[in-house]
């Protein structure tokens, strides 16, 4: 290295370049030598004393270093040129902002011009093809980049929008009279607000009102446009419509102030559901979530006392969650707070020692974007669960892509996102069209469908079918089908049905409210008065998140890297010969349309978990790839079973 730095000096490479390259000992060496040179020059040029020349030399050197640091602190990017002033401005239409659900709905009039619109402007990632190649390499066991994840800082540095781009767009928004509220730390989103009139003018669009079911909503009747020079940097103008209103996917079945009595329609306790999905051996192997963090995406608040009561009643120990309030949200219970309790209690039931971070944001496009984005920017959780969803057709594709950018960052960082696939079976838009739910439709998210699980005494697994039920009150079932937007990811390439698009769900778990989970919830806003029996894929998603937290901990104890984004590994385990059977393959029932059958199906995905088998298969699979890491052989039989 010394030879190298000397050669650099002798060939006249700028000193800041040397410093930058050879930080540490080599950098110090170069700095000292440079300092001596500078000192001599200063002394000779300005005829000052030795101490003054040294002082000046230090300042001169620091000035050079600061300049070089500034110039080197970002990778080279091709910043967009400034918007020309004067003359006609060429505009570029941003496609994907029309809501598919409104295609057949006539407008009832223009949106009131004074309506306050909150925008979440999603910016395009840079170097997307290279990012996709990196994401593929990270899940390809043959690649040296397998499971090599990046930090949020690295992701922003490599793939995030450049600050120059941000400045350009902010300037444009200001000039249009919009109020810029915030810029996400990873530069992926700019939030801004203004009246409908201002927004229409800024983006050359028209906002119309529509009657959708029992709601009056607004949405653009034409795609927005922006000046050509900033168009390539903008992925979406989120918030131009208020059609998508995320809802929790849980179904309440029965309520009572005292613990539910046993009946012919039982509720499942943490112990029972754990036993059915073969969790106890994991817990006995001390894989109870210790050291793992599960993030929960929420659009409502919760009562901490409820969670404490649930934990105490079920002997799960004390483990206080931490809240992350996003976009001005507060932890106040609203009508969706039962979802928050369900998520927290499901995770507590199966990963009692895992830390829980509750990300709470406002229920709006801007709030949803900001909350997911906060989860990946913080990068504190290896596993994330969301049970808030919306019919895929209720979002323009621009918004779907903006969310996908967030999930790509999460995947690149090694985070697993689990999302409920919806409770409307194959008809997520609750009409006669086949549709799936978002974000379970995203290929960088693990979609969790629903089953109906029959248990014997003390949680003994008996049988399981795809969950669906037709009734006069409405048909329900585990969400599943084919995305109309996202292309088929590599991990689904060999599956049927053969077409070009993403298949949902990936996995499933019990979601039948008639065989629901016992949870504890109080609150006037949700009419909770104590113990409840809850079902829906809302419960299945946190169940899977908790199990993967346990499995990750188990893998670490086995000196194996955790699952990271789990989809590829789960598909490999399910579709190739393994020593243990990691999934219950569901072969009976439908999700109101798609039948369950042997192998992958659109009703239940790969199936439901056998947690202990999955953990051991994953340990074996990942250790065979990471040969450098010592791995004790997984025991042939589970402890205590």
């Amino acid at each position: 290295m010394r030879i190298l730095s000397q050669r650099r000096r002798s060939k006249g490479i700028p000193i800041h370049h040397c410093l930058y390259r050879f930080q540490g000992i080599q950098g110090a060496e170069v700095i000292l030598l440079s300092l001596l040179h500078l000192e001599a020059i200063v002394k000779k040029s300005f005829h000052v004393s030795a101490s003054w020349s040294r002082t000046l030399a230090i300042f001169a050197l620091l000035l050079v270093l600061m300049c070089s640091k500034a110039s080197m602190s970002v990778p080279p990017v091709f910043a967009i040129p400034s918007i020309p002033s004067g003359g006609p401005i060429q505009r570029h239409t941003l496609p994907g902002h029309l809501v598919p659900l409104l295609k057949k709905v006539p407008p009832i009039g223009p949106a009131p011009q004074s309506t306050l619109i909150h925008l979440s402007i999603g910016l395009a990632l840079q170097h997307q093809q290279t990012l996709d190649a990196l994401l593929a390499a990270q899940v390809n066991p043959a690649s040296a980049l397998y499971h090599h994840y990046v930090t949020p800082q690295q992701f922003k540095y490599l793939f995030g929008p450049h600050q120059t781009t941000i400045n350009q767009i902010v300037t444009y928004l200001h000039k249009q009279g919009l109020h810029v509220e915030s810029i996400a730390s990873n530069n992926l989103f700019i939030t801004a607000s203004g009246t409908a009139a201002t927004v229409e003018k800024a983006f050359s669009t028209t906002l119309q009102q529509y009657r959708l079911d029992k709601r009056v909503v607004y949405a653009p009747s034409v795609d927005p446009s922006v000046p050509d020079v900033i168009a390539p940097a903008i992925q979406t103008i989120g918030g131009l419509d208020d059609v998508a209103h995320y809802h929790p996917l849980g179904l309440q079945q029965q309520a009572g102030s005292s613990r539910l009595p046993s009946s012919s329609s039982p509720e499942y306790t943490p112990s029972e559901i754990g036993t059915a999905y073969h969790v106890p051996p994991l817990l006995k192997a001390s894989a109870d979530g210790t050291g793992q963090t599960v993030a929960l995406f929420e659009l409502d608040g919760y009562n901490p006392t409820d969670i404490a009561t649930y934990r105490k009643t079920n002997h799960l120990g004390v483990n206080a969650p931490s809240n992350v309030l996003v976009g001005g949200a507060t932890n106040v219970q609203g009508n969706g707070s039962i979802e928050v309790s369900l998520d927290m209690e499901m995770v507590a039931a199966l990963a009692p020692k895992a830390a829980q971070k509750i990300y709470m944001g406002p229920n709006s496009i801007a709030g949803v974007n900001a909350t997911y984005n906060q989860i990946v920017s913080d990068d504190m959780a290896s596993v994330v669960s969301t049970s808030w969803g919306e019919c895929e057709e209720a979002s323009g594709v621009a918004e779907l892509q903006a969310l996908d950018n967030i999930f790509k960052q999460g995947k690149a960082q090694g985070q697993s996102f689990f999302s409920a696939s919806g409770d409307s079976g194959a008809y997520d838009c609750q009409n006669t069209d086949l549709a799936v739910d978002t974000p379970a439709d995203d290929p960088n998210v693990i979609g969790v469908g629903g089953t109906s699980l029959l248990m014997g005494h003390d949680g003994a697994y008996i049988s399981e079918t795809a969950w669906s039920k037709r009734s006069d009150l409405g048909n329900v079932g585990g969400g599943g089908g084919i995305s109309s937007y996202f292309l088929r990811p590599a991990y689904q390439h060999n599956l049927t049905p053969r077409n070009a698009y993403r298949l949902v769900p990936d996995v499933s778990a019990n979601a039948d409210p008639e065989k629901g989970y016992e949870i504890y919830c109080t609150g006037v806003a949700v009419s909770c008065t104590g113990w409840l029996k809850i079902g829906g894929t809302s419960a299945a998603a946190p169940l899977w998140a908790a199990l993967v937290a346990d499995i990750n901990q188990y893998l670490i104890t086995q000196h194996v890297n955790p699952l990271g984004n789990a989809n590829a590994t789960l598909y490999t385990i399910a579709t190739t010969a393994q020593p243990f059977v990691g999934f219950h393959d569901i072969t009976v029932g439908t999700n109101l349309y798609y039948p369950a059958h042997v192998g992958y199906d659109l009703a239940t995905g790969l199936g439901t978990p056998d947690a202990w088998n999955l953990a051991r298969d994953a340990a074996r699979l990942l250790s065979s790839i990471h040969t450098a890491l010592p791995l004790p052989s997984p025991s042939a039989s589970p402890p205590g079973r």
């Binding site: 101490s51 093809q129 690649s143 690295q154 670490i556």
Partner: protein, 164 residues
């Protein structure tokens, strides 16, 4: 202590503080225990020493495919440029860098070269480097890096040959 000395010490202290800030590394994997085993280094530097007939150059390659180069000595002003490498070449290069880790396993490579084309090619990845990868070698981990380096230089479209 007189004023002169005071200013000297103040400058020195501020200098050290700023120096520490400046020398702090670029974003590296610091982090969550759930993936600490496999940190990712996102930048590599290829340095060619130049020779009688070729100009020295340095290429910075980033994991997002961006690359900048500086060709020195042969030009009045250093020739600087940048480009974007193909995803395939980028990923392949970083894969080869990881496969070749740790560089310390390879002794410094030496070979006989034409006296007027005696270049040395070095790859720096993280805190370690490997030289001279342009020497003939039977180890594919090294030859792959040299092939990549050549492809990267060609993809950036500059010539290290001296202009007459």
């Amino acid at each position: 202590m007189n004023n002169r000395n005071l200013s000297y010490y103040a400058a020195f202290v501020w200098g050290m503080i700023l120096l520490f800030m400046i020398a702090s590394p670029l974003p590296h994997a610091v982090a969550s225990p759930f993936r600490s085993a496999l940190p990712t280094i996102i930048e590599a530097v290829i340095t060619d020493s130049g020779s009688t007939n070729t100009c020295p150059y340095t290429i910075d390659v980033w994991l997002n495919g961006t690359a900048t180069y500086t060709v020195t000595v042969c030009h009045l002003n250093p020739l600087k440029g940048s480009g974007t490498l193909t995803p395939a070449l980028t990923i392949q290069f970083f894969e080869h860098l990881i496969v070749a880790q740790p560089f310390s396993r390879f002794p410094p490579l030496q070979c006989v070269k034409p006296v007027s084309f005696r270049t040395t090619t070095i790859v720096q990845y993280g805190k370690s480097h490997i030289l001279d990868i342009s020497c003939p070698n039977t180890d594919r981990r090294i030859t792959n890096l040299y092939t990549d380096s050549t492809q990267i230089q060609q993809a950036l479209g500059f010539s290290p040959l001296r202009k007459v």
